[in-house]
Symmetry: C2
Subunit: 173 residues, 2 copies
């Protein structure tokens, strides 16, 4: 339902076609949401069938026609419902990659260190990317701030684990 909410929320502000919608999300919201193209197209046609949006074709030259989506009254009502549902519920974040740490004991510190450092690098890169995102309007800013905070915490936590590895760092670390 989350992605429906997202699409409806964007269509409320402005009618758009599928490619445009997906492109917008990729460009400006990739730090907090992700929605692949086929999913976007699928959801849009589904919502069209459900009557939440209308589908208008617009030809330009010989290329595939744009399908422009416009939110309906029913869609607006659905948006309001989904928004309230979403705000009221807490969906715990799904962490991947914790299981390895459960078994960190089973591997020598000297071997674990470079692996965790590799993980650290990816994490730090992600954080740097989000930090460099230009400011966004409205409460979107809260969400970006949330992501930054989250990643900073992850980084600190990971650094702490690396620091506490039993084997001391080698001369290259």
């Amino acid at each position: 339902m989350e992605r429906e909410l997202l699409l409806l929320g964007l269509l409320r502000r402005q009618e758009m076609h599928g490619y445009e919608l997906h492109d917008f999300i990729e460009r400006y919201m990739q730090t907090c949401v992700n929605l692949k193209k086929p999913t976007a197209y699928y959801l849009l046609s589904k919502m069209a069938k459900a009557g939440y949006v209308t589908e208008t074709e617009e030809q330009s030259g010989n290329r595939p026609p744009r399908r422009i989506y416009h939110i309906t009254t029913a869609g607006e009502a659905q948006f309001q419902t989904l928004l309230r549902e979403n705000l009221a519920a807490y969906h715990p974040a799904q962490f991947g990659g914790l299981v390895g740490l459960v078994f960190l004991d089973e591997i020598a510190g000297a071997e674990a260190r470079p692996l965790l450092q590799q993980r650290r690098t990816t994490l730090a890169t992600t954080l740097a990317t989000i930090r460099s995102v230009p400011p966004h309007p409205g409460s979107m800013q809260f969400v970006i701030a949330h992501q930054i905070m989250h990643l900073e915490n992850e980084l600190n936590w990971l650094d702490n684990i690396i620091k506490n590895l039993k084997t001391p760092p080698g001369p290259n670390d």
Copy 2:
């Protein structure tokens, strides 16, 4: 691969049957992993076919026989591989429930407040549950500490958002 790693890691320490394995995970690891029964059974028989574990039936009375799983040499190798893969990769956490906050502007503060407070309550309950978990051995403790830290941050962040809602709290808040 995460759940395979988990099962192999547990079977390394001690041979177990499916029900036992699932039960153990539910009891002692529910704060950081979740694995439903059918998934556990499915994964175990898959890994048996793959040769990572052996399956031994053990009858007791008239009840369904226990299928006891024992890790093989190939399984041990697979565990080592999966563990290294898992430690080296950073899997960004999947946040559900952020989309609503993107559209927080679209709803009056007076209406948003009780919804977010409901969310807050669930979150706080989750946090309290994890805090009350008895201490775990080994690096499992790191993971629990991670969950606690994460939830504390979430709570702070949410409180901050609630505090900054434009409409002031009513007499009941």
